[in-house]
Symmetry: C2
Subunit: 288 residues, 2 copies
């Protein structure tokens, strides 16, 4: 069992402890989170820990990535459990700033934006979401200055947006994409799964079931992206408790919608649906 | 006389040499330039050199900060003279990338923006200018990872925009503002002064003369920002070869226009005018 890692609230103290680790020659790993940690986060931490000498996790429910009608206020906050999970996952330092520490001048006047990739899929329903994500991730990267940072493939578009930001702005950070962790019945782990009643929880498996069907169809030779999209949508709409937001088949890098699936061009199926109080997303790379 | 500093074109080689200096325990100073170096740039380098163990200067005429009708193509390029000036100013490494090295995927998909501060004054005439500046400075900061970076007060608004970006995004960089260097007759040094004929060159002194009059009026008790603005505009318009763009009296931090000058609130006068083929700017802090 690891000793409990220090939990620091200020940027200055966070930087001071990280500088100490770097002075010892350790490489710095980083897992940014909004807390409400589950096994998916733990996987991120373990993967990152195995590649770095010193692992920093941040816990910050970032207000600027929530829209005005979204769940910022009621987003689950479970600090004690989070600290304990960080500890057993090998985290060396927990950075858990207040909103005032991160945004001392109130609303930021500076934005980091990837307009194209941020406007499709999630961006249609959540127009300012990724701008909030890229801006806070830029801030966190400048505070932590990690050598490597881990992000989950569950938030596929988020990873694509951040990868583009890192490449375009020459951030000296290596991104570590980590596989989605799923419940035994296929549901992708998400902090928002806590919003679901037992009945909604059962219904929520429709997302991964739809994606599995899509992958099977493509593996069996389906080449029409439109037919795959239609089947995704039909499957999700067949679940009475689910309200489909989107079902897309897109280029795995650019996220541009595909007309057909072709060998050698990576493709990903992405879905979003509202189930009761939760808006859930999931995705799966297709075997082109 | 210093030995000639290495001139490197690639990000990888630039990072490698800087990592070597850092491993020797040297702090890194940085002066980003577009070349066409004059004594103002040399002052930036000398100030920065005196505070850092290793000085990096970049020479890059950044296309994304020029508007479509601006002078990107004919912006003066004087590489040999620049290298020699860098050498005598104590630069240890010149980073002189190509456009393809800085923008390998063509137009960037990621922007760093400070929309408020970027839309006034210069931003009115040059709506995409500061977005180009902040984005390329963010890239250069990520490549060089300087401890300190020097910027001239001649480009007052640029410094205000970059300071806001650095603060809002928590860049681990200390900004070093450096006084404007002037010709004996008061003209602020600028690479664009080379565009001027002898007659235009004489006319161009009207900017600093107007600013000096403003500072004298305020020192003598003038408290109406409007009267100062009017006098600035009248003085510049009295020069037949000058076409006024703006004459503003603004809060020294926020750049918001002021109604009156009051003790304890920093104020700055800023002017821009076109003189022949050159668009020139200048500014002066007012003795409130």
């Amino acid at each position: 069992m690891n000793p409990s890692p220090p939990v620091v609230e200020t940027i200055a103290e966070c930087r001071r402890l990280i500088a100490g680790a770097r002075a010892e020659g350790k490489s710095i790993g980083f897992v940014p989170t909004m807390g409400a940690l589950h096994d998916g986060h733990v996987r991120l931490m373990e993967e990152c820990r195995s590649r770095c000498g010193f692992l920093v996790a941040s816990i910050f429910v970032n207000p600027t990535q929530f829209g005005p009608t979204e769940d910022y206020a009621k987003y689950p906050r479970t600090p004690e459990e989070d600290h304990s999970r960080c500890s057993s996952a090998g985290v060396d330092l927990i950075f858990e700033p207040t909103v005032a520490e991160m945004y001392p001048r109130g609303p930021v006047a500076t934005f980091v934006e990837v307009p194209g990739l941020s406007s499709v899929l999630e961006g249609r329903s959540r127009p300012t979401h990724f701008r909030g994500v890229t801006t806070v991730v830029a801030k966190l990267f400048h505070i932590v200055q990690p050598d490597r940072a881990a992000f989950g493939l569950k938030d596929y578009q988020q990873l694509a947006v951040i990868r583009r930001m890192v490449d375009d702005l020459d951030f000296p950070v290596e991104l570590l994409p980590v596989e989605t962790v799923r419940e035994p019945d296929g549901l992708a782990m998400s902090s928002r799964n806590r919003y679901l009643s037992a009945e909604q929880r059962r219904a929520a498996t429709v997302l991964s079931r739809a994606l599995n069907r899509a992958a099977e169809a493509v593996a069996a030779g389906e080449r029409s992206a439109d037919r795959v999209r239609q089947d995704l949508a039909r499957t999700i709409e067949s679940e009475a408790l689910a309200r489909l937001d989107y079902a897309e088949v897109a280029d795995a890098q650019s996220l541009e919608p595909l007309a057909e699936l072709s060998p050698g061009r990576g493709a990903v199926a992405l879905v979003a649906a509202r189930i009761g109080p939760a808006r859930l997303i999931d995705n799966r790379l297709l075997p082109t």
